[in-house]
Amino acid sequence: MTNRATAAVELQAVTRRYGTGESAVTALDRVDARFEPGSFTAVMGPSGSGKSTLLHCAAGLDRADAGRVVIDGVPLDGLSERNLTRLRRTRVGFVFQSFNLIPALTAAQNVALPLRLAGRRPAAGEVSSVLAEVGLGDRAGHRPSELSGGQQQRVAIARALVTRPAVLFADEPTGALDATSGKEVLRLLRTAVDRHGQTIVMVTHDPLAAAHADRVLFLADGRVVDELTGPVDAELVAVHTARLEAARTVGA
């Protein structure tokens, strides 16, 4: 399915505006971006720079006003709500800042949910092996309220990975966690990329988190303003961020 010419996700001149008339805000301004299969990209930027909007549009959670989003070779424009949902279900995984597990379901049931929604019965061991991968093999029967924040986030990652999606989007996945749990979660994401060639796009404002990625995109005022590639270290990211902040302050 995926060949060398096909990106996991591609944004072509994507524009997203909120509101109308005088109060209209352009959250994304003709953004082009390409995420290759097996890459781990961090998207950074000050608050209000449009990084969350970029994630939502790239994932098909939000619709672009102009431009085009292509996930795994499938353009999203013109897809019905139902077909869009189906595409998300099979090709896209999500990890949110606030875990967003269904409180009524156990860890295992939460992980199996995308499969069941797709009308598929999880194969024997399919769910437990994914849970074991995130280190929660012994917590399958627990409900979210019985798990710590770090454990809940790992269940969320297991749920995002269980469908073997073309791309996994993570929105501040460590934002609500302490440093140790956060590091654990980032390590898990890195492992998914290294071991299974998982594509990951992660929005964060934490340079330490961004340091786990292969590439960092910097956003400001709805545009991609800078990019770091190759092995990135936290210090370099921090320096870039500071420079961007400074440029913005001067510009304003």
Binding site: T85, R86, S98, A104, L117
Partner: protein, 772 residues
């Protein structure tokens, strides 16, 4: 389905309202349907030993579309019976003439007056019920009788159509009824309505032979068809009971849909984030919708599982009270009705699914991004459809009220109710708009206290919640005030109206009897009318009429103008009349009179000659009355009050049953809304406590908020009902041509409101107290 089950188990609290509503709905449904299905027509017990019954041929229909089967004259019936008796397999063919007998005890008539109309029989018909003599011998001479509960040789006092009589008991029977010698019974009865067959051979073959012999002269009834011979007054009682049961079932079905839909809407609003999340992890809108349907189906099945047995168990307990209040015939028992029980459970699921439909549609449109939004902003309370429907309802309701006096009288009462329902619905739809100014006014005096401020702002920002609480209160208070007020106003007007109809000051009326006997009437000075039924042939067929016999009215018939129009007759035409005794004669129309005392009026002697069983409803006295058994004299006013009172009792019974049910559902709706809404606001209350409020203060805020919501609902409901009542009064006034007092049922309205307040305060306080 397993996800639905997990969801239901996890958040049972938010499904509690649906559950309770379905339990109540299914219980009412199962109970009412059990009663309804148990109340089937049944052939009188005195035909128990006669598997084949034969009725005279159908001659036409009456105004209600019921069959008219004029009786066979005695001679014709006897001839038919003799020929039937010769058929192979027939043990006996017995004509069954019936007549009116009531036992007198100390000069007072005893027993059920309506049943007494058919308590007199011919001795040979005792075998149709399988009744036998246990002592003495069969009656032979004119004044001999066989009956149960009296020893041979005793003399008994009875009242018949001709007057008080004394009979000698010749034998004791093991079944109910008064049995006279056959010739005597045939002489008294106006004709023979039934011939019964007891058989010794194959029932079906005998029935076929009887059909062949009778031909078009009669109808042979076997098996379940025999039950069509149920006595009219029994059918009427069951009909009244059925009306109440149907009303209860309809109301509870609607109320269940209403409660389920409001509960589901609220819980869907509260679960918005969760539903968005489901969408984000890959649930299509259809899957979200199906998820909600599945949850509701589960809850409704559980509710049915509890409610159906509850209703089935309650039904037998209601049989006694229903017989006592005249809603079911004596001897009515409730039998196990699987169709009622399972049908009710199934209908409960259907009704709940109707209720969840709108909420599910809205929920399926929740965008996946909502999973990521933290803020619980109260979504806009007024949608465009609410505005459109609300304004349309208000306009239509007001228009209908304004147009009411010009509508035909028969359509007015339903137009009034319809207008009120429209206005109540409109007020419910528009309540979010009305709540804001209303709350500002009500909370004005306390605006500077902390509680006052919190309540005011909490209410103004949570308009949706307040509207959800106020809506059921509005509907219940509105319906209660409207129904009780309408009936009280009309009863008040009817009292004036009915009293005005009679000229003389006193009446002689039946006293525990179906009518006045000939002897009782003959002794009185005054005007009376003898009541009978006749069948009159006209160009479109044969129609039955309630006719009257009036003394000294001259020969020939007098028709009321509408009767004349229906028959196509005028003064001088000749009518072909078939009488109660089965004979037919030609009668000339003497006059057409719009003020005639009945639809058709004949000379009293003519009626008496053809219907020895005719009774008189009342005598308008123009002198001192003479005492007679089974009759009493009373002033017109007292009689009218008594009649209205009796009718009023039945109306009140219906009214309170319906209002009670409505109030019950309101309790569920209000309680559930507040329980869920308060539980969802826990974090808000935690913040309030952190800011220094004690539990008492939080409770005060919560109680005041719910009180305010109930008050808003009650005020709106009362106002709408008041407006409708004014319309009802205007139309009654224009009909009666004089002004009448508007009766506003403050007591009923306040009682219902107080009930809502109690439920609201408790439901709002429980979640606050439960988790500190």
């Amino acid at each position: 389905m397993s996800a639905a089950w997990a969801m239901v188990r996890h958040r049972f609290a938010s499904f509690a309202g649906t559950f309770v509503a379905v339990v109540l709905g299914v219980a009412v449904l199962a109970g009412s349907a059990s009663l309804y299905l148990s109340s089937q027509p049944q052939a009188p017990a005195r035909y128990d030993a006669a598997p084949i019954l034969i009725q005279p041929a159908m001659a036409g229909t009456n105004d209600y579309g019921e069959e008219e089967r004029p009786a066979w004259p005695a001679s014709e019936a006897t001839g038919l019976a003799n020929r039937l008796a010769t058929l192979p397999g027939v043990a006996a063919a017995v004509p069954d003439p019936v007549f009116y007998v009531q036992r007198l005890s100390g000069g007072k008539a005893t027993g059920d007056p309506e049943a007494a109309r058919a308590d007199g029989h011919a001795w040979s018909s005792a075998r149709l019920g399988g009744y036998r003599l246990t002592a003495g011998r069969a009656p032979e001479s004119r004044d001999e009788v066989a009956l149960s509960g009296a020893d041979p040789g005793t003399r008994i006092e009875v009242l018949t159509a001709s007057g008080p009589e004394t009979w000698t008991v010749s034998g004791t029977v093991d079944g109910p009824g008064f049995y006279l010698a056959d010739s005597e019974a045939l002489r008294r009865a106006p004709g023979v309505p039934v011939i019964g067959l007891t058989v010794s051979g194959d029932e079906a073959r005998v029935a076929d032979a009887a059909r062949a012999l009778i031909g078009p002269a009669g109808t042979v009834r076997t098996g379940a068809e025999r039950d069509l011979l149920e006595a009219n007054h029994v059918t009427r009682i069951r009909w009244i009971g059925a009306q109440l049961l149907i009303a209860l079932v309809t109301l509870s079905a609607f109320a269940t849909v209403f409660v389920v839909s409001s509960t589901c809407a609220l819980s869907a609003a509260q679960r918005r984030r969760e539903l968005g999340l489901l969408r984000a992890v890959g649930a299509t809108p259809g899957q979200v919708r199906r998820q909600m349907y599945a949850e509701t189906t589960l809850i409704a099945l559980l509710g049915g599982l509890v409610g159906a047995p509850l209703g089935a168990a309650a039904a037998p307990l209601l049989a006694g009270p229903m017989v006592d209040t005249g809603l079911e015939p004596a001897g009515f028992t409730v039998t196990w009705q699987p169709a009622a029980v399972f049908g009710a459970a199934l209908l409960g699921v259907l009704v709940a699914l109707c209720g969840v439909a709108v909420a599910a549609r809205r929920a399926s449109r929740v965008p996946p991004l909502d999973a990521l939004r933290e803020a619980a902003v109260d979504p806009r309370a007024m949608t465009r459809s609410r505005w459109v429907l609300g304004v349309l309802g208000a306009v239509a309701g007001a228009g209908l009220l304004a147009a009411m006096p010009s509508l035909p009288v028969s359509a007015q009462s339903s137009a009034g109710l319809g207008a009120a329902m429209l206005l109540i619905t409109a007020a419910t739809l528009l309540s979010p708009v009305l709540i804001v100014p209303l709350v500002r006014v009500v909370a004005w005096p306390v605006r500077h206290t902390a509680t006052g401020q919190l309540v005011r702002e909490g209410t103004l920002t949570g308009v949706r919640r307040v509207a959800a609480t106020a809506a059921p209160v509005l509907a219940t208070v509105g319906i209660t005030v409207l129904l009780t007020g309408t009936i009280a106003t009309i009863e008040e007007a009817a009292g004036i109206d009915a009293a005005a109809e009679f000229s003389t000051g006193s009446l002689l009326v039946p006293d525990g009897t179906p009518g006045l006997s000939a002897a009782a009437v003959a002794a009185q000075p005054g005007e009376s009318r003898l009541e009978t039924r006749v069948l009159i042939t006209h160009q479109d067929g044969i129609t039955g009429f309630e006719a009257a016999g009036v003394a000294g009215s001259g020969s020939g018939a007098v028709l009321r103008d509408d009767t004349a129009t229906e028959l196509g007759a005028r003064a001088g035409s000749t009518l072909t009349v078939r009488w109660a005794d089965g004979t037919t004669s030609e009668t000339r129309v003497r006059a057409v009179d719009p003020d005639a005392q009945a639809t058709v009026v004949f000379p009293a002697e003519l009626v008496r000659a053809h219907d020895p069983q005719a009774l008189t409803a009342m005598v308008l006295l123009d002198g001192e009355p003479t005492a007679a058994p089974g009759a009493r004299a009373m002033p017109v006013g007292d009689f009218v009050r008594e009649e209205i009172g009796e009718e009023g009792q039945l109306v009140d019974l219906f009214l309170w049953a319906l209002i009670g049910l409505t109030a019950g559902y309101t309790g569920i709706a209000v309680g559930n809304t507040l329980l869920m809404a308060t539980a969802a606001r826990r974090s808000e209350f935690r913040a309030l406590r952190l800011a220094g409020a004690g539990t008492g203060q939080v409770l005060r805020v919560v109680s005041a908020e719910s009180l305010l919501a109930v008050a808003v609902g009650a005020v709106l409901g009362g106002t709408v009902a008041g407006i409708s009542l004014l319309g009802v009064r205007a139309s009654v006034e224009s009909e009666l041509d004089h002004s009448i007092a508007l009766v506003i049922p403050w007591g009923a309205g306040l009682a219902v409101t107080a009930g809502c307040v109690a439920v609201a305060v408790v439901a709002a306080a429980v979640p606050v107290l439960r988790r500190r």
